[in-house]
């Protein structure tokens, strides 16, 4: 038999083997998709659960509790080192001379804010205050002044005070004289600073002045402003030490404080003022040219247990100063356009919202007056509103853009008198004292942008390389800041798209050797270069034109770089020359596509009803626009115009929204009752696939087992902990407060880990430090066995007056975005749910439980929501708390556009969504919250919640809700189950279920793999044999 006759056989075998190869290759992928079901069918096991503590999915970075405490302390000190901002430094005031002397003035010098332990301050025994830190650093503190303040002025003691929530008496630190820690709700604010004229009568020694060695002593004056939940400063509300109204801004230095400064100037050769506040203060009097100008000013934020050690390291020059201002400091807060609409007021006919015949509350006369943060009367609390007519121009974006236009586009009337407070014409140099990003370095250095690469894809990044060059003779640590200018085009002017002349993108820090240089890479998602066009494209757009990038020590230096690049000089009105070092990236044509789809969701308008003009049907509101600074500068929409609900062409819709009727319970679609589906929340059912994929059918099966009563009840009640669901058997997860970290005390050591300072972290401008804090915070959760906390605040600081600013990061959305990204990722990496507060424009605490904040959709998307986007979309954030207020007329916790369309769909967020503490059942509407996607309403409900706990088997809060009344609304019940699905999915992905699962090969994995290799080899061999046998010459013919 001739060999050639085997060729067809070889070909046939090759075909079979090729088919087998294809089957095994494709089949392996298919089998992997259906792994769990194959395992069930074949009784194999692809995953094994490892319960060994050493193999836990989330393990602490620290071997012992001592290591953990040391790490928390080190991080807090680092916040002081990196967050202290040198705002002014003349005459060599700082750093303090080695071994030099200081005299400390001001109440806060001896009791920095906050002085009591609690949410804000840990209060550990080894806490170090400013006095101790200075002493530890070898600085001599004048004892006469010190003793006078400590013994005669402050006189520290303890008092029994009732706990705010429980009413139980607690021992707290108290003083005879101390600054007011809680400014109240737009109340008068007394600035309790003892003026020097009172020193004598308060027992100061006659020789206190002469006790100071003036030539060798630096006077350090520390002034604080309090803050807190439910607190909002009122412009012009200041009282002096005696309690007399002064008419001054409470955030400005009072005459008494200025007198203290004058006394320090009289007795010391140099004077440095430290600003101990989370609210931006007015420092005109002590800044350059001020009547009480001092040599140095430094920002030290709101401190905690250990930050003073770091702050003093900066003051003494042990470390270089690298902090930068997260907010703009102005000469007069009235110059801030957002302040034009702050506090709010009633609609002219707000009463028409109230009613006696609300079918949900028969027999109840419900009004529409404002109520306190925690309710207390029968009211929809929808009478007050503000109009955020400043749009995107918050903080430096207003001041720097107006400055830019005053030089580049005089036709925009940037120099008109509108908004000017210091002169008849608006002048940047007079209005702004210290801009965003400002912070002086002790060591001379330069930052130069070397390159920028923009990946213009939906998930792409801007990657910038900045050279940090240390021009000094000392090794040091330095800050690089990246800014961009987007083109402002005719398209923008025609379609009301606003662009700041400068936008902060991100920052980074690096150590640089003396005389050396280091290249720092800064990245930020490219999507943030896009702007939201709410009128024409109704999506994110990238305008055609040049995008200018620069590295600069602050927003103003960045703007000057742009101006210089564009050919402007001091002769054109610039206030400083600049090198114009800019890297340009060009977009050829208007791009309305690239960022119009996010995570598979079409991005389009979702908040048109937030615009007051939507309701009035006319252009009632003129939003601030840089094309005409004079003509568009905000008026006060509470006092300058009359807004009547009854005049609206959408009157009924508007009133219904103000009554919380965002969703109405339906009665025509029976819901499916839950029941045991044979699955549970456990490691048997929750394996790798389920942890990875919230769309895995397991989750729907699991939540379909929840009864109607429990599904709705668990969503609309709770707050202190999660419910145990009958057919799910999920773990209980306790919620914890703590913007400074977990407030719980570690049982064995008595240590408290809430040692963080949000304000100093913010002014560190270091996202890596934010990640480090998040990780420490997460680690502490593992040690405390607490897994869920409301542990950071990311709301934009719209104005300086919000009493919660100390919990938030900045006036700038991108700084908040990048720091939030770091904090939440750090916690997520440790399996800890850290929910930032208060998404959705908690721009003031005054009337927060109902005030309507009206705005256009560009502001909606590019300001407060952008602050949260980094942590909740770019990082793996697992929880978020929603603001109290309304967005437009809609309760933020009812806002389907924000919560479902943006958070869930556009951002693909899979975590918890909680309300703030639900305070008013007429304002918070249970069914609307369910339909908006709230996973758990925070109220004072019991442990396991039902909608049967009220009299007659109805809900205890919303009596119109019962299993019977919701049973015919399948959409509502299914949405409640979906909301719980996200909650359970998040718990599964946290340290709550802290076990690891490992993939192992089953016999069929091995069989498939071997079949692939064998068939592949045989295919190759037989195919080769076929080719050879086919091409060999026919021997018969050769004969």
């Amino acid at each position: 038999m001739r060999a050639k006759s085997f060729a067809p056989v070889m070909r046939g075998i090759a075909a079979i083997m090729a088919c087998v190869l294809v089957l095994t290759m494709v089949g392996a992928g298919v089998a992997d998709t259906f792994r769990t079901r194959i395992d069930d069918a074949l009784r194999t096991q692809s995953y094994v659960t490892n319960t060994d503590p050493d193999s836990a999915r989330f393990k602490s970075d620290y071997a012992t509790i001592d290591d953990m405490m040391a790490a928390a302390k080190a991080l807090a000190i680092k916040e002081g080192e990196e967050g202290t901002v040198i705002m002014k430094n003349d005459n060599g005031a700082l750093p303090l001379a080695d071994g030099g002397s200081v005299a400390l003035f001001g109440l806060a010098a001896y009791a920095p804010y906050p002085y009591t332990a609690g949410d804000l301050k840990a209060g550990n025994e080894d806490a170090v205050d400013l006095l101790q830190a200075l002493t530890d650093a070898g600085i001599k503190v004048n004892e006469t002044v010190r003793d006078f303040y400590l013994e005669k002025v402050l006189n520290k003691h303890t008092e029994e005070v009732p706990n705010r929530w429980t009413g139980e008496l607690e021992t707290q630190v108290a003083y005879d004289n101390i600054y007011v820690a809680a400014p109240g709700d737009m109340a008068e604010y007394q600035i309790v600073e003892v003026p020097p004229e009172k020193f004598g009568e308060m027992g100061a020694p006659d020789d206190w002045k002469s006790s100071i060695d003036k030539a060798n002593t630096t006077g350090i004056c520390v002034f604080a402003r309090g803050a807190g939940e439910g607190n909002t400063y009122a412009p012009g509300s200041a009282l002096d030490f005696e309690g007399n109204a002064t008419g001054k801004d409470p955030l400005a230095l009072s005459d008494d404080e200025l007198a203290v400064i004058d006394a320090a100037k009289e007795t010391c050769s140099k004077v440095v003022v430290l600003i101990n506040s989370g609210n931006t203060m007015v420092l005109k009097d002590i800044a350059k040219g001020g009547a009480h100008e001092v040599d140095g000013i430094a920002y030290i934020g709101v401190i905690n247990d250990y930050q003073c050690t770091g702050i003093v390291k900066v003051l003494t020059g042990q470390v270089n100063a690298t902090g930068a201002l997260p907010d703009t400091y102005v000469a007069d807060n009235a110059s801030i356009p957002a302040v034009m609409n702050f506090g709010g007021g009633y609609y002219a006919d707000y009463e028409i919202v109230g009613r006696k015949d609300d079918p949900r509350y028969p027999g109840v006369e419900i009004g529409n007056e404002t109520a306190g943060s925690f309710g207390g009367s029968d009211t929809y609390n929808g009478g007050h509103f503000i109009v955020e007519a400043e749009g995107i121009y918050v903080g430096y974006k207003y001041f720097e853009t107006r400055y830019y236009d005053s030089v580049m586009n005089p036709g925009s009337k940037a120099s008109s008198g509108k908004g000017a407070t210091q002169d008849s014409a608006w002048n940047y140099g007079k209005e702004v004292l210290y801009t965003f990003g400002h912070g002086l370095s002790y060591l001379d250095y330069t930052q130069t942008l070397k390159s920028v690469d923009v990946d213009k894809t939906p998930d792409g990044n801007v990657t910038a390389v900045v050279e940090l060059k240390n021009n000094s003779s000392q090794d040091g640590y330095f800050l690089a800041q990246l800014y961009v200018q987007q083109p402002y085009t005719d398209y923008d002017k025609q379609n009301n798209v606003e662009k700041s002349a400068v936008m902060f993108l991100n920052s980074a820090k690096a150590q640089v050797k003396a005389g050396g240089s280091v290249d720092v890479t800064i990245t930020v998602p490219s999507k943030y270069l896009a702007s939201y066009d709410y009128t024409n494209a109704k999506t994110y757009i990238l305008d055609a034109g040049d995008y200018l990038f620069t590295a600069a020590p602050g927003a103003h230096a960045a703007v000057n770089n742009f101006l210089a690049h564009q050919g402007k000089t001091a002769a054109d009105g610039m206030d400083a020359e600049a090198d114009g070092a800019v890297v340009t990236w060009n977009v050829g044509t208007l791009d309305t596509d690239t960022f119009s789809v996010e995570n598979g969701t079409k991005v389009t308008n979702v908040a048109e009803t937030a615009d007051l003009n939507y309701w009035t049907g006319t252009n009632t509101v003129t939003y601030l626009s840089r094309h005409d600074w004079e003509g568009t500068y905000p008026i006060n929409y509470n006092t300058d115009v009359e807004i009547k609900l009854a005049d609206s062409p959408k009157k009924d819709e508007w009133i219904a929204e103000l009554r919380g009727e965002t969703y109405t319970i339906q009665n025509n679609s029976p819901a499916t009752e839950g029941g045991d589906k044979g699955v549970r929340f456990d490691t048997t059912n929750i394996q790798y696939e389920q942890l990875e994929n919230v769309a895995d059918s397991f989750w729907d099966t699991l939540v379909s087992s929840i009864t109607i009563d429990e599904a709705v009840g668990a969503v609309i009640h709770g707050g202190s902990r999660s419910d145990v669901l009958t057919n799910v058997e999920n773990p209980i997860v306790i919620q914890n407060e703590g913007v400074s970290g977990f407030t719980a005390t570690h049982e064995e050591t008595g240590y408290r880990f809430n040692v963080h300072s949000q304000t100093l972290l913010a002014s560190s401008f270091n996202p890596e430090l934010a990640y480090e804090w998040g990780r420490v915070e997460g680690n502490s959760g593992l040690w405390l066995q607490r897994y869920h906390l409301w542990g950071t605040g990311l709301t934009q600081r719209r104005t300086p007056y919000n009493g919660r600013n100390y919990e938030y990061i900045s006036e700038d959305p991108m700084l908040s975005n990048r720091m939030g990204c770091g904090i939440l990722q750090g916690c997520a990496d440790m399996g800890i749910l850290n929910g930032p507060k208060h998404m959705g424009f908690n721009d003031q605490e005054h009337n927060r439980g109902g005030v309507s904040a009206y705005m256009n959709e560009q502001k909606f998307r590019e300001t407060d929501l952008r602050c949260f986007q980094g942590g909740l979309e770019d990082a793996d954030g697992m929880a978020v708390m929603i603001a109290f207020n309304r967005i437009g007329a809609t309760n933020a916790s009812h806002h389907v556009g924000m919560l479902q369309k943006i958070l869930r769909d556009e951002w693909a967020y899979t975590g918890l969504i909680s309300t703030d503490m639900m305070n008013n059942k007429y304002y918070f509407n249970a069914e609307s919250m369910v339909m908006a996607g709230i996973t758990q309403v925070a109220d004072f409900g019991g442990d396991d919640n039902h909608i049967t706990l009220g009299e007659g088997g109805v809900d205890a809060t919303w009596a119109y809700i019962s299993p019977k009344t919701v049973a015919n609304d399948s959409a509502l019940v299914e949405q409640a189950r979906q909301n719980l699905k996200y909650q359970l999915y998040t718990f599964a992905n946290s340290a709550i279920m802290n076990v690891s699962t490992e993939r192992v090969d089953t016999w069929w994995d091995v069989a498939l793999r071997n079949a692939k290799y064998i068939s592949g080899a045989l295919c190759a061999v037989t195919a080769a044999a076929w080719v050879i046998l086919t091409v060999i010459p026919d021997k018969k013919k050769e004969v």
Binding site: A7, P8, A15, C19, V22, V30, R37, T1030
Partner: protein, 159 residues
């Protein structure tokens, strides 16, 4: 007609595979065009691969009927053989993709929980599932016949 007389058994087997592949395309098209669970549930590249397989099989048969001389003979024989190998491979890909795309749906229709199975097993859904299974059977048959054909020459030996 003389050409057909020269068809070997292998050629007829190969043509049978092509016909079966064509049938499976038709069944697939009808299945996704009819009411039921898999309506409009197109499977990526299935039609393209199937048509390519049919073309490959037909081309192989055609090439098998020509008899060039010299080195061209080996070349034609290699191309013909490669097509005989490629066709069942393409059909295998079609089958695997179809199974991957339909497994979950079939599981849903036939193995849902008792409380929902009545809602799921509507006549339309069952017809759709049956059509999909028929589609799989046709593809599997075409694949196997194609493999068998790969063992065979495509022209009767000259006596």
């Amino acid at each position: 007609m003389n050409v057909i007389k020269k068809f070997s058994v292998g050629a007829w087997i190969t043509l049978a595979a092509a016909v079966m592949a064509l049938v499976s395309v038709i069944v697939y098209t009808v299945n996704i065009g009819s009411a039921g669970y898999f309506q409009n549930a197109a499977v990526s590249n299935l039609t393209v691969f199937c048509v390519l397989a049919v073309a490959a099989l037909a081309a192989a048969v055609a090439l098998g009927q020509i008899k060039p001389s010299g080195s061209a003979a080996s070349l034609v024989e290699l191309v013909q053989g490669a097509l005989q190998i490629a066709a069942p491979v393409l059909l295998t890909l079609c089958l695997a993709n179809l199974v991957a795309a339909r497994a979950e749906g079939l599981g849903f229709i036939y193995f849902s929980n008792a409380d929902v199975i009545k809602e799921v097993q509507t006549p339309a859904n069952l017809a759709s599932a049956t059509g999909t299974i028929a589609n799989m059977v046709c593809l599997a048959a075409a694949m196997v016949i194609g493999m068998v054909g790969a063992f065979c020459g495509l022209r009767k030996k000259e006596k």
